[in-house]
Amino acid sequence: GAGVSQSPSNKVTEKGKDVELRCDPISGHTALYWYRQRLGQGLEFLIYFQGNSAPDKSGLPSDRFSAERTGESVSTLTIQRTQQEDSAVYLCASSLDGGSNTEAFFGQGTRLTVV
């Protein structure tokens, strides 16, 4: 597609439920990132996929968080047993590669509200 697409754009869920967030990167981009941004805060790195390499999961805050990526296309971020502290905007970005000189293109994010 023309840009990075995320769905849903907004999600309200009850505490304890599982949610799945989707990211469609730009076609041909091998690198994909997930970030979390709480209200008024900076971007918190969650996970990074690069081609067929093992993902860098070092930013996932707990074992309730997981992410998958199918080849070099769609990625899903799953949060199990959601907590109110998970409320945030989840941003996905892709880049041509994860190397030195490529910019990241961002989706518009999914605003997750846990009630």
Binding site: V4, G98, A104, Q108
Partner: protein
């Protein structure tokens, strides 16, 4: 931590003035990028400066990089009310890009 740290956290200026934001980091980098975010949603890439570059310009934007001090600055000249946004530096070292906490810029008309 490799994360960039911006300062100031918030900046309020009059239209027409220049705005300067700084970013410091702790490890070696491949490049440093600046992004802009409106309304807490997707970020827009502004400019990328490679580790072997010292200064770069793009329109009203000027970015400097001092690898010896591990710092960068973003200068927006002749600011406009439409420049009101949050600005983030992003550090790329190896194959991962990490963002700082951002500077919130408010330009008063």
């Amino acid at each position: 931590s490799q994360q960039g740290e911006e300062d100031p956290q918030a900046l309020s200026i009059q239209e027409g003035e220049n705005a300067t934001m700084n970013c410091s980091y702790k490890t070696s980098i491949n490049n440093l990028q600046w992004y802009r975010q409106n309304s807490g949603r997707g970020l827009v890439h502004l400019i990328l400066i490679r580790s072997n570059e010292r200064e770069k310009h793009s329109g009203r934007l000027r970015v400097t990089l001092d690898t010896s001090k591990k710092s960068s600055s973003l200068l927006i000249t002749a600011s406009r009310a439409a420049d009101t946004a949050s600005y983030f530096c992003a550090i790329t070292g190896g194959f991962k890009t990490i963002f700082g906490a951002g500077t919130r810029l408010f330009v008063k008309a």
